[in-house]
């Protein structure tokens, strides 16, 4: 049993090592051009105390924007999903509105937010946009998940639509809403980073732009690794929440 676990772990470790070595070899040989990062250089970049603290400070800024966007987007999406469940006549309109807003590229919306909500807050708003659509779709589909028999029982018991929503539809929808959050959490990091491209005073997005302009490849990839790590951590946190929710609500 332990041997099998060990085998699995060794496969994982060798996969990672292989990937790192391949990246480094391609960088040293210059096969893919000068923009290809050398991980050793990225590591050296991060070894610098000053660079590291700058990266950490900006990571925290992006983390805050992502978290704010995730919370805002989720609240708005769940409320919109609730409205579409409680007022069925609004449902097709809300569905289409969500689809249209989602189809507009975030990159195109970002300048709009800078002029409306300002440079400081637009990363969170762009993050909320990305989150909102995913969570809205998972909420509306979750709210429709209760079985016909469950609905029949509540109808016979004389439930009005609000009690039906609170007692049956919402708890039934929770696993599906959390499924949406699993997808939305990395989206929030991506959205916040994109939001920071357009003149935000700080954040990983801002650092990417400045690294890009000064052709500082190690900085660019240090930032990219930081953003990736944040998105992955958020993903795994919500995977854990999802497991717990499924255990409790199904």
């Amino acid at each position: 049993m332990n041997t099998r676990k060990l085998t699995k772990a060794s496969y994982m470790v060798s996969g990672v090592v292989l990937l790192v070595v391949a990246v480094e070899v391609i960088a040293r040989l210059g096969i893919a051009g000068t923009a290809w990062p050398s991980l050793v250089e990225v590591y050296e970049f991060l070894g610098d105390e000053r660079q590291r603290s700058t990266l950490w400070r900006n990571t925290l800024v992006t983390l805050e924007s992502s978290a704010t966007g995730l919370v805002m987007g989720t609240i708005i999406a769940v409320l919109a999903g609730a409205v579409s469940a409680l007022v069925p006549i609004l449902r097709p309109g809300l569905d289409r509105f969500a689809a249209i807003v989602n189809a507009v590229p975030l990159v195109a919306l970002a300048p709009l937010f800078i002029t409306t909500v300002g440079r400081e807050d637009s990363p969170a708003v762009v993050a909320a946009m990305g989150v909102g659509f995913v969570v809205f779709v998972s909420t509306t589909s979750g709210l429709a998940n209760a079985s016909r028999t469950h609905h029949d029982v509540l109808t016979v018991l004389g439930a009005n639509r609000f009690r039906r929503f609170a007692r049956l539809q919402l708890p039934q929808a929770l696993p599906s809403i959390v499924d949406g959050l699993v997808l939305a959490a990395p989206t929030a990091v991506l959205g916040a980073t994109i939001g920071e491209w357009f003149g935000a005073p700080s954040g990983l997005g801002m650092m990417i732009v400045s690294a890009f302009q000064s052709a500082n490849i190690p900085q660019l990839w240090a930032v990219a690794l930081s953003a990736t790590a944040m998105a992955l951590i958020a993903y795994f946190i919500f995977i854990a929440v999802q497991r717990a929710t499924v255990r409790r609500f199904t």
């Binding site: 028999t149 029949d152 109808t155 016979v156």
Partner: protein, 295 residues
């Protein structure tokens, strides 16, 4: 002879049977009618037709000329081959479906009115318990749905009545199939409904559990004495529980026969092993076999 005065199936021209007349308070007792007095104290389907639209302008006649009365405090079982429309009758009484023509009245009101007043209880073959809620919160659900404060004593009483003491905090997934059905029945009973509707509540259980649930339901019913309609395809189950057994035939669904069950209660093995019981089982089973061919 088998037809009680409470029922008139369109196809039958039964002689009034005065034997049954003194059984229920709602009976007219007169010999010139085979229907009950128009009384607000009963459940009635009058001249009910139900047609389902199956698309492309085609329709299927599900129920024809259904006339059925249930007196207050009476237990009626509806049996018939699958697809005969017996569940549709129950759904009409539950207000989950509407008639194409004809009247459905529950104690003088339309079914929707009773469910609005939280006076209906229902249990289906699928238990439809809330998976995230414990046994006691599942049984408390009707209070919450009605916006009333939960009567903890009543909930505890029902948990005891259905024999689940000690399982109050258990989740449905931790219970056996039979136990889940007991919770579903307790939930149906908790508000003391004016009409209890049971749609094959034991249909998914194994034979042994099913018989045990039958005798438990008989015991529960003898304590609560609710007006009840049970839909089933199990002849024994119908005869163990019901005051009257209504046999339906299919395609289109109509009432084929009504059997008054005069066997003494409780109908435990001392009754179910008698020749009288077996005779009734054979008679009704024979009708079910014939009913598919539409007599």
């Amino acid at each position: 002879m088998g037809l009680s005065p409470v029922i008139s199936a369109s196809s039958s021209t039964s002689a009034p049977d005065t034997r049954g007349a003194d059984l229920h308070a709602g009976y007219s007792g007169s010999s010139d009618s085979h229907r009950l007095d128009p009384s607000p104290l009963r459940v009635s389907l009058t001249d009910v037709q139900k047609t389902f639209d199956v698309g492309r302008g085609r329709t299927v006649q599900a129920l024809v000329d259904i006339d059925l009365d249930i007196a207050e405090g009476e237990f009626v079982a509806l049996i018939g081959p699958s697809g005969c429309g017996k569940s549709t009758v129950l759904r009409l009484l539950a207000g989950l479906d509407t008639t194409s023509s004809g009247e459905v009245e529950l104690f003088g009101s339309p079914p929707e009115e009773l469910s609005r007043q939280h006076r209906l209880g229902v249990a289906f073959q699928e238990h439809a318990l809330l998976p995230w809620a414990s046994v006691s919160s599942n049984i408390s659900l009707p209070y919450k749905v009605a916006g009333r404060s939960v009567d903890k004593n009543r909930v505890a009483e029902l948990i005891k009545l259905v024999g689940l003491t000690g399982f109050e905090k258990a989740l449905p997934k931790q219970l056996s199939g039979g136990m889940r059905q007991r919770v579903a029945i307790a939930r149906a009973l908790v508000l003391n409904p004016s009409l209890l509707l049971l749609d094959e509540p034991f249909g998914a259980l194994d034979a042994v559990t099913r018989r045990r649930m039958n005798s438990e339901l008989a015991r529960i019913w003898s304590e609560e004495r609710l007006t009840t309609l049970l839909v089933t395809h199990d002849v024994d189950e119908a005869l163990i529980l019901a005051d009257r057994v209504v046999v339906m035939s299919g395609r289109p669904g109509k009432i084929h026969h009504v059997e008054k069950v005069d066997l003494p209660r409780p109908r435990d093995t001392s009754v179910t092993r008698t020749p009288a019981f077996h005779e009734l089982v054979d008679k009704l089973t024979g009708m079910l076999d014939g009913a598919g061919e539409d007599s």
